[in-house]
């Protein structure tokens, strides 16, 4: 159980002015980015990283936590008002929300989005607070074998869920791992793929790669697909935030509970992250509903379940990131990278050696999600104004931030060059249905995977059966092998897709 002394010390840390200010500013920024179609929560987080260089670890992570929570939640705004999902997670229920808008119930749709997202986020944070220290105690007995299999599980699952074609997810993952090998080798210190460049000897920083792949490629995609030419939001309706929200809670308590439980469970799986939760929750809500025929006609039941699972999954995605040091999605991969930069190594040892830090990070989730209620009020009031900010102003601002952020990594133009290359590669990858999240996850987790793999190989004298000798390692290894086998069998049995002209459903994976 959580130590009360640790809890109170962590609370004091979180209630410092600089942490609270970071949370409020992060939320305001997340609202702005999340509400603009085409700009994702991951992109919001990526652009924040250069700012965190100059912050203490806790405010830096609090900034990321609150901006992500708000950006994911604010992703509902363009979905509700324009029928354009702000984030991949909100795409699951955009049609339902827009149907409410057409009936003159945009205020209700936005209110329930914010209210149930915040509630789901709070419950997810509670799961994280309770399970984190317990799992950390178990993970203290883990050796390099268990960490190797956990990293494999996370990477493999992320690659599989982020693309309908497993081979494309695999390519993204391998590219990320390959880029992580550039620089000096983690064990022998030998240079790899440096081509005599001093800059490459230090390795490829994940920050410009991430800024390029998520921000620059998104902007190029916007130009190519004319995604910046948006319809105007509906006018005339009076927005009364949270009006009648408690009657919805009373009418659909099971939707709230099921959504948060599902979101917490799915988000906690290494490599899965929270995006998938909203899709499954919406489908499950329809399956268990007494009135499934109302779905798609502006019915709040599915919205409640999906939005609450959304933010619950967002909180619990931090379980593998904080407890095992294995991030669950692109956002937690970025956060883990920031923690490493600050000299804080996430993992079970952190809960023993510095328990206040992970507890304070978890408490910052509570503060960020609690703030969603009042900030949501203003966000709903300001929703139409945010959407009316011209793209001709926002896009150039974002690009300038990309440039400066990449330069600030090492005060060198090498970072900018990396960002440009990563942006172009990311653009081509996305256009060809190669997911981006596994690249970032591979880049961040690559050194962890390689270190544990080499260590395990040395311990087992190169005998791969040694990877299955410890019980937990054997179970994790068997799970990884089963997933690989299942994927291979399914791929071999797969019938060829319909030829050109047939549409495929492409689901985003970058929150």
């Amino acid at each position: 159980m959580m130590n009360p002394d640790v809890l109170s010390l962590a609370l004091v840390e979180v209630l410092q002015f600089k942490v609270l200010a970071a949370i409020v500013l992060g939320a305001a920024y997340g609202l702005f980015i999340g509400a603009l179609p085409g700009l994702t929560a991951t992109m919001a987080t990526a652009l924040l990283v250069p700012l965190t260089f100059y912050m203490d670890p806790l405010p830096a992570i609090a900034l990321i936590v609150s901006s992500t929570a708000m950006a994911i939640t604010a992703g509902d705004i363009p979905g509700v008002l324009l029928r354009i999902p702000g984030t991949p997670a909100s795409a699951a229920y955009t049609d339902e929300a827009y149907a409410m808008t057409r009936q003159g119930r945009a205020s209700e749709a936005l209110s329930l989005g914010f209210f149930f997202s915040a509630t789901g986020g709070l419950i997810g944070a509670l799961v994280l607070l309770v399970s984190g220290p317990l799992l950390a105690r178990v993970a203290l007995n883990f050796s390099s074998f268990e960490f190797f299999w956990l990293a494999c599980l996370g990477l493999l699952t992320c690659a599989l869920v982020s693309s309908p074609q497993p081979a494309k997810g695999g390519v993204s993952l391998v590219l990320g791992l390959l880029v992580s090998t550039v620089g000096l080798d983690v064990t022998t210190g030998q240079p790899r793929f440096t081509f005599g460049s001093v800059e490459l000897s230090g390795g490829v920083s994940f920050i410009p790669v991430m800024i390029g792949m998520f921000a620059m490629s998104e902007i190029l995609r916007g130009f190519s697909a004319s995604a910046f030419d948006l319809p105007a939001p509906p006018k005339g309706e009076v927005y009364r935030p949270y009006r009648g929200i408690f009657s919805l809670v009373a009418r659909y308590p099971m939707s709230l509970l099921r959504g948060t439980a599902l979101g917490s469970a799915i988000g906690a799986l290494p490599g899965v992250g929270g995006d998938l939760a909203a899709w499954i929750a919406y489908g499950m809500s329809r399956r268990f509903s007494r009135t499934p025929e109302k779905f798609g006609t502006g019915h709040p039941e599915g919205l409640i379940e999906a939005t609450s699972s959304n933010n619950a999954g967002l909180s619990s995605a931090w379980i593998p990131a904080l407890v095992f040091g294995i991030p669950g999605d692109a956002v937690t991969a970025i956060a883990v990278g920031v923690l490493f930069m600050k000299g804080v190594a996430p993992g079970p040892r952190l809960f023993v050696e510095n328990p206040v830090m992970p507890t304070a990070i978890i408490l910052s989730f509570f503060v960020a999600n609690l703030l969603l209620f009042p900030l949501g009020y203003f966000a709903i009031k300001a929703a139409r104004r945010v959407l009316s900010v011209p793209r001709s102003v926002i896009v150039p601002m974002i690009l300038i931030c990309c440039f400066v952020g990449s330069y600030a990594v090492n005060n060198s133009l090498f970072g900018v060059g990396t960002m440009i290359v990563a942006g172009l590669v990311g653009y081509v990858m996305e256009r060809n249905q190669f997911p981006i999240a596994p690249v970032i996850l591979g880049l961040v987790l690559g050194p962890v995977l390689e270190r544990n793999f080499i260590m395990s190989m040395q311990i087992s004298h190169g005998n791969l059966l040694g990877f299955f000798e410890r019980p937990v390692a054997a179970a994790l290894g068997a799970l990884v092998c089963l997933i690989v086998l299942f994927t291979l069998l399914r791929a071999l049995r797969r019938k060829p897709a319909l030829p050109a002209g047939a549409s495929t459903i492409q689901k985003g994976s970058n929150g």
Binding site: T181, N411, Y427, E450, I454
Partner: protein, 154 residues
Amino acid sequence: MKLGDRIVGPGLILLGAGVILAAMRIPDVPGVRFGADLMPVICGGGLVLFGAALTRSGLREGGPWASLDEWRVSPRNLASALWVLGGLCAGLFLFEPLGFPLFGIIFMSGLMLLMGARPVTVALVAPLFVLTLYLTFTRVMFVDLPAGVLEGAL
């Protein structure tokens, strides 16, 4: 730019083979059994494997080899995209001599105009945003952004 799996797959196989060859040229360290080449060889193997899988599915499914259809957009969007790419690449050479404030204002103003912003908005927003960003980074976060031709004036 859309590329068919029949092009991407063999490309990945070639890349993977190149990675394996390059990794095998990393010299061994005496006494180290699992050295710096192991992980790159595994990654190269992965690229070859997935490349083969994509080649197989590409050959089965057919479809176009390559397509630039998504760039059949308005001249304004095309010009904006070219300005972004050209501007960022030019920034690699002009950023330090011109300095961030001047480069930033030129780059941002050009893009805003190409995207259809009114000149008055451009004249107000671009300098204000770039200078605020410059002062925040240099004075608050102590990042050494080059002032270039405006050295001494800011």
